[in-house]
Symmetry: C2
Subunit: 197 residues, 2 copies
């Protein structure tokens, strides 16, 4: 069975890929608005883990909507959620049996409710799977430590390909770097270099 | 890392065992009130899948409480939930790193909320993992079909070791088989005979 996984090159989506690999032919897919080349980081991480990779074109309009939300709110949560829902919808339109993402139990965003999941499945005739949604933060940290060779650092310095990089870029271009720092609080990210020896 | 999985010999907990086996040393554990030998079915299924097995003594008082709930309600849901919470608490007291069960996304019972999960983790210093909670019914049916050699049939004829068998027995002993049929609506169960060829 063919499965398309929303993939950033980070620890969560990389762990999701390994779990799903037991049952599906996993394709790592990175959404891109065409604003930056951040997806290249995901391509390299997928290659190191041995997974097929492709990019998925996202609507530039959705990026602008998301940025508007973030500026109104003063924080990124609802904008990220908007982009994630769009990406999952796009993913479900591929010719595949199942779609997945790396959402964890303790994530506050992005999050897809059970009702949204069932609607997505019914409308697109796919399974929607979140293989990490039954794992808490501590369990995931343990599994990542045992499994991957990773790099951890502040969000803006870690090579990654989630939606954040492109949205930061739009905000920086239109409103300056000061506004990026206002909207995105400091947090750390991880990037997967490969399976540990 | 050592993980204790609540195990019935059915498809859900068997699939959970296979997923967790990538990361943990999985021990299949079947709760028993000491009323029937139903746990023997789980022991045999675990052996066929190559997993270690042990039983877990459950409090007979909890079984009686659960039966009371079921008779009051006229359906088994709250009674099953009561027993499940007790079993998970007992499981978390074992000398292990993580506990797990086979709860699926679309299960209405048993279900452990995120807050309950975090409380369990904090109080017992374990991870609580539900590896199937990100999989819907259709996805699980597909994976089971591809993975296991199973037997499907009405609940009362399939050899299994969930809490239902013992609770049915208590009700039959105290109130007669007619009351069992009133409380438990007809439903099908599965039993795992092994990995398919």
């Amino acid at each position: 069975m063919e499965l398309a996984l929303l993939y950033s090159g980070g620890k969560d989506s990389s762990l999701a890929a390994l779990i799903l690999n037991n049952f599906y032919n996993v394709q790592c897919v990175t959404g891109s608005f065409g604003i930056t080349d951040d997806w290249e980081h995901a391509r390299r991480a997928a290659a190191r883990l041995g997974f097929a990779f492709q990019t998925l074109d996202l609507d530039r309009e959705i990026a602008d909507e998301a940025v508007e939300l973030m500026l109104q709110d003063g924080y990124p949560r609802n904008g990220i959620q908007r982009v994630h829902e769009h990406a999952i919808e796009r993913l479900a339109q591929l010719d595949i049996d199942a779609v997945a993402d790396g959402t964890r139990r303790d994530d506050r965003v992005p999050t897809i409710s059970r009702a949204q999941a069932q609607s997505l499945e019914d409308r697109h005739n796919v399974d929607y799977i979140t293989p990490l949604s039954g794992f808490g933060r501590h369990a995931i940290d343990q599994l990542v430590k045992d499994t991957f060779d990773i790099e951890v650092g502040p969000s803006e310095t870690i090579p990654k390909a989630d939606y954040e990089g492109e949205l930061r870029q739009i905000i920086a271009d239109n409103h300056g770097p000061g506004t990026v720092a206002e909207v995105f609080p400091d947090h750390t990210q991880t990037y997967v270099h490969g399976i540990s020896e």
